[in-house]
């Protein structure tokens, strides 16, 4: 029972991070391997805001998310759009964007290591017990989960009930046809990429309230987010959310039942199962 609750709470944060990557890869078609660095940067900003200025991290999201939006939009406009223009097919864009975002990954990680060093950081925010069904859980995890659900619901409303959201979904399905119905594909892709970055930053902010972080952990989270995205089916918002909870649960189960050092093994086991049996995503029908 405890595993179920802890896993679900963790899954809420994973969902937010993975939704960010879904938008970036599924809609903007950029395999952003520097996604985890956005997350870690958000952790550090939240830490700095909280410990220096005493800003509540949940409120801090109001600053962090727009900042991440602008930063990611600039990255897309300056670095990635030329690659999209140059690419002749999707495969080439994938190779190019993978290599380019590797560059960004190391660049940002290097800069953060220079600024903050390799030490682990954490801060005390709402570190009080909160009782669910008689068992105490850390209040900050519960708050992070609730905030994550709120942000995801906002995203869902945006994607399924606004014109701009429909445009994002359209380019995720087929950029060529989206153009035919007067959608500015290049601009919408840039916007999806930026929005994805903002979501990941929200995830990072929430994560920092209960997780001990350091400058070089970004890749691990990118990895988890990628696996969630693939499990859910690329571009599938609902699939990604479900996959995030599955990952959160199985990681928590492995960490508490077998060994905390084997969480990545649990992630990989899931990944292999998905690749072997449902490479098109857990909710999607038909061949990949």
């Amino acid at each position: 029972m405890q595993i179920l609750v802890t896993g679900t709470l963790l899954g809420g944060t994973y969902a937010l991070i993975a939704l960010g990557l879904t938008l970036q890869y599924g809609a903007a078609r950029i395999m952003n391997l520097a996604n985890g660095e956005t997350l870690v940067a958000a952790c550090f900003v939240a830490f700095w805001l909280f410990s220096r200025l005493g800003v509540n991290p949940i409120l801090g999201m109001v600053i962090i998310a727009p900042a991440a939006l602008v930063l990611n939009w600039l990255i897309y406009a300056w670095l990635l759009r030329p690659l999209v223009r140059r690419a002749k097919n999707r495969g080439m864009l994938e190779v190019d964007s993978i290599l380019a975002t590797f560059g960004l990954l190391f660049l940002f990680q290097g800069l953060m290591l220079l600024t903050f060093g390799g030490a682990y950081f954490n801060y005390k925010f709402l570190a009080e017990p909160f009782s669910i069904l008689g068992t105490p859980y850390a209040l900050n995890r519960v708050v992070a989960f609730v905030a994550g659900v709120l942000v995801s619901s906002l995203l869902y409303l945006f994607l399924y009930h606004t014109r701009q959201g429909a445009a994002v979904r359209a380019i995720a399905v087929d950029p060529a046809s989206a153009q035919l119905v007067a959608i500015d594909v290049s601009r919408t892709a840039g916007f999806s990429f930026a929005l994805g970055g903002a979501l990941t930053a929200c995830g990072g902010t929430l994560l920092s309230t209960f997780y001990t972080f350091n400058a070089s952990m970004g890749v691990l989270f990118t990895m988890k987010a990628l696996i969630i995205v693939i499990m859910g089916g690329v571009g599938d918002i609902r699939g990604a959310t479900l996959a995030a909870f599955i990952l959160g649960l199985s990681e928590t189960a492995v960490a508490s039942l077998i060994d905390p050092g084997l969480t990545l093994a649990a992630t990989y086991a899931l990944f292999i199962l998905v690749l072997l049996f449902r490479p098109q995503g857990i909710l999607r029908r038909g061949a990949a």
Partner: protein
């Protein structure tokens, strides 16, 4: 199979002479320059092995470090029980087996799955090795004591590089190499003309992995004390990718062009500005994508083509931009 062209003959002779000259190094110097030479030859072997697979297929593999670590551990685990030659064979087989597993899981699908899978692979194996060592052996590291000198390791790595080259050359001439070039150009076409694309990719990935594993096995005596953290170092994979792409993967010797300058640069950076090395790696990746999309050798060939055309002797060759676009 056709006969040996004159160009190839020339390449063979040049390669042989270069090999002979390089093998003199341990006789001339020791200490810093020799140990630098070992690094150089190590990365030459790893990058060439990497581009055996990733060059023609354009699948970015980040598994080099995993193969390398498996090779290192193969030696460390059974050094007291078996002769070194057998251990090298074990390293090659174990790495090839791992490559077959990775290939079977991902190479039937698109390239992205492969990249993602190999991205975390080194860390995964490190976790498993650490866990099983603390669980079953109750200690973290293993000692490797041998009589090999730095010079011996250098010669072995040089021989490995030569072997990688020969195998790469043979593959290029074989049906497998031809099949892979078609797969790299257009996988759908390859499948339609009856190439078993997944099998061809898996076989080549196994060969490439086996060479990386052997490199790890040869390097094991140099570390003396082997622990998961050092043996499974993900940076090795990234360095290999940068060096190979920097040099260019369209020629067998392309990666070498990247290995030499980048090893020198990283050595300097590590000595002078150790904290900035990640930033340099980042800039190198960006430079590859934006400045040298087909590597130094690709750029040179493209310039040569342009020169020939401006002299009016060449046939109507594709423009520079087109060649670059194919990286």
């Amino acid at each position: 199979m056709t006969g040996i062209h004159r160009d190839e003959m020339l390449g063979l002779i040049c390669g042989g002479v270069a090999l002979a000259l390089l093998s003199l190094l341990p006789l001339l110097t020791e200490g810093f320059y020799l140990s630098f030479g070992v690094n150089l030859v190590l990365y030459a072997a790893l990058s060439t092995a990497w581009s055996l697979f990733s060059g023609p297929t354009r699948f970015v593999s980040l598994a080099s470090a995993a193969f390398f670590g498996i090779g290192t551990y193969s030696v460390a685990l059974w050094l007291d029980a078996l002769p070194f030659v057998v251990l090298i064979a074990i390293a090659a087989l174990a790495s090839a087996a791992l490559a077959a597993l990775i290939g079977a899981a991902t190479l039937r699908l698109s390239g992205v799955y492969f990249v993602i899978f190999t991205l975390g692979l080194t860390e995964l194996i490190r976790q498993i090795v650490s866990w099983s060592q603390s669980r079953f052996a109750h200690k973290m590291g293993l000692y490797v004591f041998t009589d090999f000198t730095e010079g011996d390791l250098y010669w072995m790595l040089l021989a490995l590089t030569a072997a990688t080259f020969s195998v790469g050359w043979l593959i290029n001439r074989s049906r497998l190499g031809f099949a892979l070039r078609i797969i790299g150009d257009d996988e759908t076409v390859a499948r339609h003309v009856g190439i078993a694309t997944a099998r061809a990719k898996i076989v080549l990935f196994m060969i490439s992995g086996a060479f990386a594993g052997i490199a790890g096995a040869i390097m094991a005596p140099r570390y003396a004390y082997i622990e998961p953290q050092a043996a499974f170092n993900p940076m090795i994979s990234f360095m290999v990718v940068i060096m190979a792409l920097l040099g260019g993967t369209r020629r067998l010797w392309g990666p070498l062009v990247g290995v030499v300058p980048f090893t020198v640069v990283m050595e300097l950076i590590a000595a002078r500005f150790p904290n900035e090395s990640l930033i340099v790696v980042g800039i190198a990746f960006l430079a590859i994508v934006y400045v040298l999309p087909s590597g130094v050798t690709g750029r040179i060939e493209c310039l040569r083509e342009r020169l020939r055309r401006s002299l009016g002797t060449g046939v109507d060759a594709p423009g520079c931009g087109k060649i670059e676009g194919r990286a």
